[in-house]
C-alpha cells in the first residue's frame, strides 16, 4: 500500500458545508480566554499567585479614572494602525510596515510642530496632524509603487522600510534636530504648547487622537459596507481572478489600501509625539505597528472587532507595565502574551471552516480513502 497520509489521531478535521456563523463571532473571545488561561499558568510556573497576578495585570491598571484614560490612550495608536491594516488584509495587501509608517508620521508631523509651531498659531494642530498623515502615506507609497509597477512583494518592502524609518529618526534626533539645551540627550526640543494635544478629561492623558480613532473606525465601516471602492477591495481580496475579470483594477486596490493604512499609521505616530511623548526621541513606539497586526486579526478584520481588540491589546500593555512594577516580571511578558494570543486566534479560526469529527475506523476491506 502506498504511504498515504495516515491520520494517527482519534479525531479528524472535516470541512463544514458552510462556514459556522457562531464560530465567526466566538473565535476571538475563545482565543482571549485561552491566552488568559495560559497566562495564569505562566504566572503560576514563575512562582506568583495566579489570582494576585491576574488582579495586578488586568484589574488594578484600570481601577482609576487615570487608568481608564491610559487604557484609551494606548488603544489609540493600536486602533488607528489596525483599522488601516484590517482594510489592507481584506484586500489581500500584506502591509506589515505600519511601525515604519507610524515613525515617518512622527517625523513629518513632529517636524511641523517643532519648526512651524509658533508661526502657525491656532492652525498648528490640524496642519501637524495632516503632515503626519502625509508622512505615513509617503512611506506606504513606496511599497505601493513597487508592487503595482514591479510586482515586488509589499511584505518585504514595507518591513525593510521600518528599519530605515527608525534609523532616519535616530539620525535626526542625534544630529540636526537635537535640542541644543538637552544636555546631549538624543531628543528634540519639546513641542511648543500650542502644538500639544490637550487631554480630553482632567486627570487623564487621553487626547483627541482617541476620538479621531473612533471616527476612523466608523468611517472604515461605512467605507467597507456601502462604497463601491470598499466592495472592489473586498472582491479583490477574496477572489483576485474574478476581480480582474470584472475589470477591477488591482493597482487601484493596492494603492488605496496602502494609502489608507499608511495615512492612519502616520496619524498614530503624530498623535503619540504631540500627545504623551511631547517631543521627538529615538524610539516613539513600543512596537504599536507590529502589535496592530495582531489587533487586526483578533478583531477579525472587522472595524468593530478592531475597536474591541485594540482595547484588549492596550490592556495587555498596561498589565505588562503593572506586572513589571509590582511583581518584578519583565515587561517582555506582554510581547509573549501578544504572540500567544495570535496563535490561539489562528487555531480558533480553523473551526469556522472545519469541525472535529471522531474517526470511525473502517473495516480492513473498505477502500483506504473515501
Amino acid at each position: 500500500m502506498p504511504p498515504f497520509d495516515r491520520n494517527p489521531w482519534p479525531l479528524r478535521l472535516e470541512r463544514r458545508q458552510k462556514p459556522s456563523a457562531a464560530m465567526r463571532i466566538w473565535s476571538s473571545p475563545l482565543a482571549a480566554l485561552a491566552m488568559l488561561a495560559t497566562g495564569l499558568l505562566v504566572f503560576a510556573a514563575l512562582g506568583k499567585d495566579p489570582l494576585a497576578a491576574f488582579r495586578v495585570f488586568f484589574i488594578e491598571p484600570v481601577s482609576s479614572l487615570y487608568g481608564v484614560g491610559e487604557l484609551l490612550l494606548k488603544a489609540t495608536p493600536l486602533m488607528l494602525c489596525a483599522q488601516g491594516l484590517a482594510l489592507c488584509y481584506r484586500a489581500n495587501v500584506w502591509n506589515i510596515g505600519a511601525e515604519g509608517q507610524l515613525t515617518l508620521g512622527a517625523i513629518t508631523g513632529g517636524g511641523v510642530g517643532l519648526f512651524y509651531g509658533a508661526a502657525l498659531g491656532h492652525w498648528v494642530q490640524p496642519v501637524m496632524l495632516a503632515a503626519g498623515v502625509v508622512g505615513g502615506m509617503a512611506w506606504a507609497a513606496i511599497p505601493a509603487f513597487l508592487r503595482s509597477r514591479f510586482r515586488t512583494s509589499e511584505i518585504f518592502v514595507s518591513l525593510m522600510l521600518v528599519y530605515i524609518a527608525q534609523l532616519l529618526l535616530s539620525y535626526l534626533v542625534h544630529g540636526p534636530w537635537r535640542d541644543p539645551a538637552g544636555q546631549n540627550f538624543p531628543q528634540s526640543q519639546p513641542l511648543p504648547d500650542n502644538a500639544l494635544l490637550a487631554p480630553l478629561l482632567d486627570g487623564t492623558r487621553v487626547n483627541v487622537g482617541f476620538i479621531i480613532a473612533l471616527l476612523l473606525s466608523a468611517l472604515c465601516w461605512w467605507f467597507g459596507k456601502t462604497t463601491a471602492a470598499g466592495f472592489r477591495m473586498r472582491v479583490g481580496g477574496l477572489a483576485p481572478a474574478a476581480a480582474a475579470y470584472a475589470g477591477i483594477s488591482e493597482r487601484g486596490n493596492v494603492w488605496l489600501a496602502l494609502m489608507i493604512s499608511g495615512g492612519s499609521a502616520g496619524l498614530a505616530g503624530i498623535c503619540e509625539v504631540a500627545g504623551p511623548i511631547g517631543m521627538l526621541q529615538p524610539v516613539v513606539s513600543p512596537g504599536y505597528g507590529f502589535a496592530a497586526i495582531i489587533v487586526a486579526f483578533v478583531g477579525r478584520l472587522h472595524p468593530l472587532g478592531v475597536v474591541l481588540a485594540s482595547l484588549l491589546m492596550s490592556a495587555l500593555y498596561l498589565g505588562g507595565e503593572s506586572a513589571q512594577m509590582e511583581l518584578q516580571l519583565p515587561a517582555s511578558v506582554s510581547g509573549l502574551f501578544q504572540g500567544t494570543l495570535l496563535f490561539y486566534l489562528l487555531a480558533a479560526e480553523l473551526f469556522i471552516g472545519f469541525r472535529l469529527r471522531r474517526v470511525r475506523r473502517a473495516p480492513a476491506a473498505a477502500p483506504a480513502s473515501a
Binding site: W94, R151, T152, I155, H174
Partner: protein
C-alpha cells in the same frame, strides 16, 4: 588602505554572510516544499537566545548549537501544527511566529543580557592557514562557515539529483498531484518546516556566539527578513542564495569600514544600506515577471488538506 585591511574586510564579510546563509538555505528547503514560513526572524531570535543560554551555562559551544537547532525545531513545530495540520493561513501564522519569537526570546533570555561568552574560534589548519594571503582569506574561519558551504552543496545536490529532492519539489509544485501519486504530502512538508527551523536556530546561535558574542533583545535586527528576501533573490536556487548572502555580507561589512575608506556619511545612513539593498535587489529580480513565475514553487503558500 593596505592589503591587510582588505583581507580583514573579506573575512568579516564572510562572517556576516554565514548566518544569512543558514537561515536562507533552511527557508529555501521549506519553500521548495510549498510552505512559506515568514517566522524566520522569530526562529532566529529563539535560536540565538537558547544557544547563548546553553553556551554560557554549559561552557560548550557544540551543546549551544545543538540547543539552538532543537529550539528552532520546536518553535517551527508550532508553525507546522498550525499551518499543516490546522490549515491556518501561512502568511498570518508566520507573522505570528515572528512576533511570538521576539516576545519569547526577550522573556526567557532576560537573565542572560550582558553576560560574556567565549566565542567560536577560527580553525587553524597546519600549513594551509599559515600561507600568506591565501591562508587568512580561505583557511582561517570557524567551522560553521565551512559547514554552511558544505550544506549549500549538499542541498543543491539533494534537490537536483536525488529521489528525496524530487519528492520534495513535487510536493511544492503540486501537492494534490503528489498526494494522488501516494506521496505523504503533509509529512514531507513537516520535515521541510522542521529543517528550516533547525537552520534558523543555528543561524541565530551563530549571531549570539560568534558574530557578536552576547545576547540582547531583538539582536537579529531584521536578518531573518533579509534571509527570506535572499531566497527570492536567489530564485529558490542554493548557489544563487549563497552568492546573495555573500553580497549582503559585503554590504553589511562595508558600512563598518566606510569611514576608514574616506566616506563621510552619518553612520545611520550607512546602517540603512542592507535594508535599502534588500529592496533594490527584490525590485531587480521581480521586474521581469517570468523570473518569479518560472522559479517560484507553484504552490508556495497554499494550504493542502488531504481529506483522508
Amino acid at each position: 588602505m593596505n592589503l591587510a585591511t582588505w583581507v580583514t574586510i573579506v573575512a568579516s564579510a564572510v562572517g556576516a554572510a554565514t548566518p544569512l546563509m543558514f537561515a536562507a538555505l533552511g527557508e529555501l528547503v521549506t519553500e521548495r516544499a510549498g510552505v512559506l514560513n515568514l517566522g524566520v526572524e522569530g526562529m532566529m531570535l529563539v535560536g540565538a537566545m537558547s544557544g547563548f543560554a546553553v553556551g554560557v551555562s554549559s561552557g560548550s559551544l557544540w551543546l549551544a548549537y545543538l540547543a539552538a537547532a532543537v529550539a528552532g525545531i520546536l518553535i517551527a513545530l508550532v508553525f507546522g501544527v498550525l499551518t499543516l495540520s490546522l490549515q491556518t493561513n501561512q502568511v498570518a501564522t508566520g507573522l505570528a511566529l515572528t512576533l511570538f519569537g521576539v516576545g519569547l526570546s526577550a522573556f526567557a533570555g532576560r537573565s542572560f543580557v550582558g553576560l560574556p561568552i567565549r566565542p567560536l574560534t577560527a580553525l587553524h589548519i597546519p600549513l594551509l592557514t599559515d600561507l600568506p594571503l591565501i591562508g587568512p582569506l580561505l583557511f582561517h574561519y570557524d567551522p560553521l562557515v565551512y559547514l554552511s558551504l558544505l550544506l549549500c552543496a549538499l542541498i543543491a545536490w539533494m534537490l537536483k539529483r536525488t529521489r528525496a529532492g524530487l519528492r520534495l519539489r513535487a510536493v511544492g509544485e503540486s501537492p494534490a498531484m503528489a498526494h494522488a501519486l501516494g506521496e505523504p504530502v503533509t509529512r514531507i512538508r513537516y520535515l521541510a518546516v522542521l529543517f528550516g527551523g533547525a537552520m534558523s536556530g543555528i543561524a541565530g546561535a551563530y549571531l549570539s556566539t560568534s558574530l557578536t558574542p552576547m545576547w540582547t533583545e531583538g539582536m537579529s535586527a531584521g536578518r531573518g527578513w533579509i534571509a527570506l528576501a535572499l531566497v527570492v533573490f536567489g530564485t529558490w536556487k542554493p548557489w544563487r542564495v549563497l552568492a546573495g548572502a555573500y553580497l549582503f555580507g559585503t554590504v553589511t561589512v562595508l558600512q563598518l569600514y566606510a569611514q576608514g575608506l574616506g566616506v563621510h556619511v552619518p553612520s545611520e545612513f550607512l546602517s540603512m544600506l542592507p535594508y535599502a539593498a534588500t529592496i533594490v535587489v527584490l525590485v531587480v529580480i521581480c521586474r521581469d515577471p517570468k523570473t518569479i513565475l518560472l522559479n517560484q514553487p507553484a504552490s508556495l503558500g497554499r494550504s493542502f488538506h488531504p481529506g483522508y
